[in-house]
Symmetry: C2
Subunit: 215 residues, 2 copies
DNA sequence: ACCTGAACACCGTTCAAGT
DNA sequence: ACCTGAACACCGTTCAAGT
């Protein structure tokens, strides 16, 4: 509060759950899932390793907190309360995917951990919107899980392909050797087409067509 | 070959890529992704740790080999060469999911690694079958990726939920506290419905409806 | 060609102790 | 209430050496 305490914000600010989580997200963004280490985390925070354990149960706890902190949903654009339920679903799911791609470690982590409050809120809202869009009660859970599966699969794949890719050169090479054995994959350029956003949106459209046929 | 060499099959058989991969799969099945350790692997094989590195580049290499070894596809049931393309797609994808669920670590691993020959064969065959089922060339890649996303999302989620579940007791408890904040999730029993196989099949049906409407 | 042990630079976490 | 260092039981991999 005093000028004194504000003066040295770097290494002087005390440890806290919030500061630990925020720094963990930074570290994960910079170094990936394997890059998060209790020791490195403590380093960044300017504290001893074991100090973390006062605020946090263990490393898994750090993962859970970092994950949920990244999944907040701010809601649909507030221009008008629209009647376009299908568009609203698309917006929600594209936002979800975008949030995870901003933190490429998060998608791989999400299915392994218990669901935190932010992701549960997203599912709750998705359920409501699907109902309004005309999905029958009996199909609701299947619809939610199908969309979950699609979004998770797409995002995990996208997040990991991008990282292991050295600009496509390695993939190109592999593909050359593959062309006789997998002619269709080669011909359709399945592994080289990199319009990920477009493919996500188009496939989501097909899935929604199946789940709630346009009347 | 001689009776002598067959006599002591346990610790006497020499190290080989095949033996290493087979044992790695055993270890992964028993202990999960984090349970695979070069030291533990060497223990099971009755060799020194560093002996492994003669046959294998590094731990990532072991993961790649173990993963692909688990993804072989034996083809559709040979009763009749059927005209039911849609049924064939469903069979292929259910078999793929089942193969991965037999080795619950495999699904989480697949999107992170370069695609091996067995999974590429599956994609090649999927492409052929979707074409025959009437998916337009322009939609083919989107269709393949959509099905990939769906299968991967479903299988990763399933494989991980089952493990972290202590019989549902923990989930039940969490749910109790959740019921006011997430009423729809609570009411539809989204997190408690455990007919995973049925949900997978039904959702896959919806997706296929969208991708290749039944004529 | 194939296998090995010692060594290095790391991990997460327990514990007993400090303020 | 909050932080710490030493110690334990682990990791993957390099290297120089053995047969």
């Amino acid at each position: 509060m005093s000028l004194q305490s504000v003066q040295e914000p770097r290494s002087e600010s005390p440890l806290s759950r919030e500061r630990i989580v925020a720094t963990a997200v930074e570290l994960l963004d910079a170094q990936g899932l394997d890059g998060l280490t209790m020791r490195r985390l403590a380093d960044r925070l300017g504290s001893g390793v074991m100090s973390l354990y006062w605020h946090v149960d263990n490393k898994e706890d750090v993962f859970d907190l970092a994950l949920d902190s990244v999944l907040e949903y701010r809601g649909p654009p507030q221009i008008v309360a629209s009647q376009d339920w299908r568009g609203e679903v698309v917006h929600m799911l594209e936002d979800w995917r975008a949030s995870m791609l901003r933190h490429p470690w998060s998608a791989s982590l999400l299915p392994r951990r218990a669901l935190g409050p932010n992701i549960l809120s997203r599912l709750e809202l998705l359920s409501k919107t699907l109902s309004r869009a005309g999905v029958a009660d009996a199909d609701l859970n299947v619809a939610i899980w199908s969309l979950w599966n699609y979004v998770m699969g797409a995002t995990i794949t996208r997040a990991n392909f991008d990282l292991s890719d050295d600009g496509g050169a390695a993939t190109q090479q592999r593909l050359a050797r593959l062309s006789e054995r997998y002619p269709r994959i080669e011909r359709s350029r399945l592994l080289l087409d990199n319009d990920w956003d477009g493919a996500f949106r188009k496939g989501l459209g097909f899935l929604l067509d199946g789940l709630a046929p346009r009347q």
